[in-house]
């Protein structure tokens, strides 16, 4: 054994250094500032702000709507990816391009448009409200906006995996007598799970912090349809920087915990798959 381990690729130290410096500057420094700012509050005061009834209601709305929107996209994102990759129909390229619309449209424009559509006098809102379902200015409206902005994450993370799926496995399943549904459910879907999970994680994280598209449709009623990012803005407007960072830290902790859990889940599914293949 060598006394000093040498890497096959040269320049490891330099690239790692640049990488860490960049990461530190862009990601860790603002996070540290966040923690630093909220540390100016005492522990008691911090706890009081973070657990105030209005703040707790805002977490519920934010996490609940983000999870619900993520679940809707968990179904429709991979479905859309499947249809776009496997089926040929007129207008396919157009639909493919449309998937990026939520990224291209400024979120505030999306918010105003969705509000106009789903408001009581809007074309969709009128119909839905006749059936007793009020969308605009309720958590349902927040969920609709979040479904809109986070859809591309799921489609775009699943699509390339589907495009590069080897046909052999599906053909093998067919020769072994599996029906098409069985093949999709037991062969195709399991290979997609890691991509679906990471897409869900991205969508959920984006939905947690989403502000522009939500504030118009949410109605922003405290305790009912007020999202946590709005609470942060409200505190900033009152120059309550410490209070704003305290709420932000809770959001950050929540989204970090979610991402960690999803990554662990992804790790487990990949492990289980490779164990099963071996």
């Amino acid at each position: 054994m060598h006394a000093k381990q040498r890497h096959a690729l040269p320049g490891f130290g330099l690239t790692l250094g640049v990488c860490l410096a960049y990461l530190g500057l862009i990601v860790l420094l603002p996070l540290a500032a966040l923690a630093w700012k909220s540390a100016s509050l005492g522990a008691g005061e911090f706890w009081a702000i973070v657990t105030a009834p209005r703040a707790r209601a805002a977490y519920r709305v934010t996490f609940g709507c983000a999870a619900l929107a993520g679940l809707v996209n968990l179904v429709f994102g991979p479905l859309l990816a499947w249809v776009l990759v496997r089926y040929r129909f007129p207008g396919r390229a157009l639909v493919d391009a449309l998937v990026d619309l939520p990224f291209a449209l400024p979120t505030a424009v999306a918010g105003i448009t969705l509000t106009a559509l789903y408001a009581s006098n809007g074309p969709l809102g009128r119909v839905l409200e006749a059936h007793g379902w009020k969308i605009a200015y309720t958590p349902s409206g927040i969920t609709v906006a979040l479904v809109f902005v986070s859809l591309p994450f799921l489609v775009r993370s699943v699509q390339p995996v589907l495009e590069h799926l080897e046909p052999d496995v599906e053909e093998a399943a067919a020769t072994l007598g599996a029906g098409r549904l069985t093949t999709l459910w037991r062969v195709v879907l399991p290979t997609l799970w890691p991509a679906i999970l990471s897409g869900f994680a991205l969508a959920f994280a984006r939905a947690l912090g989403e502000y522009g598209s939500v504030i118009f449709i949410a109605g922003n009623m405290p305790m009912v349809s007020e999202i946590a990012p709005l609470l942060i803005t409200a505190k900033l407007d009152q120059y309550d920087y410490a209070g704003a960072t305290a709420i932000a830290l809770v959001l950050l902790a929540g989204s970090f915990a979610t991402l960690l859990a999803l990554n662990l889940l992804q790790l487990v599914t990949v492990r289980r798959r490779s164990a099963g293949a071996a």
């Binding site: 479905l79 249809v83 619309l101």
Partner: protein
């Protein structure tokens, strides 16, 4: 051998699977993407092209 590589039939979904999946996906796209897109243009030009252009110049 056929010069054009046809997708093997094992990879093709049967019509009873293809039709509902396609319809469901397109309905979702229509509701969540196409409708808002048209609505944006609709509201932008609601007061006529002249008003729109005037707002751009403003």
């Amino acid at each position: 051998m056929n010069a054009v590589r046809l997708p093997s039939s094992a990879l093709r979904d049967p019509w009873w699977l293809r039709a509902p999946l396609l319809l469901l996906a397109l309905a979702f796209v229509a509701l969540f993407l196409v409708l808002p897109l048209f609505a944006v243009f609709g509201y932008a030009f609601e007061k006529g092209l002249d008003f729109y252009l005037a707002s751009l110049v403003d």
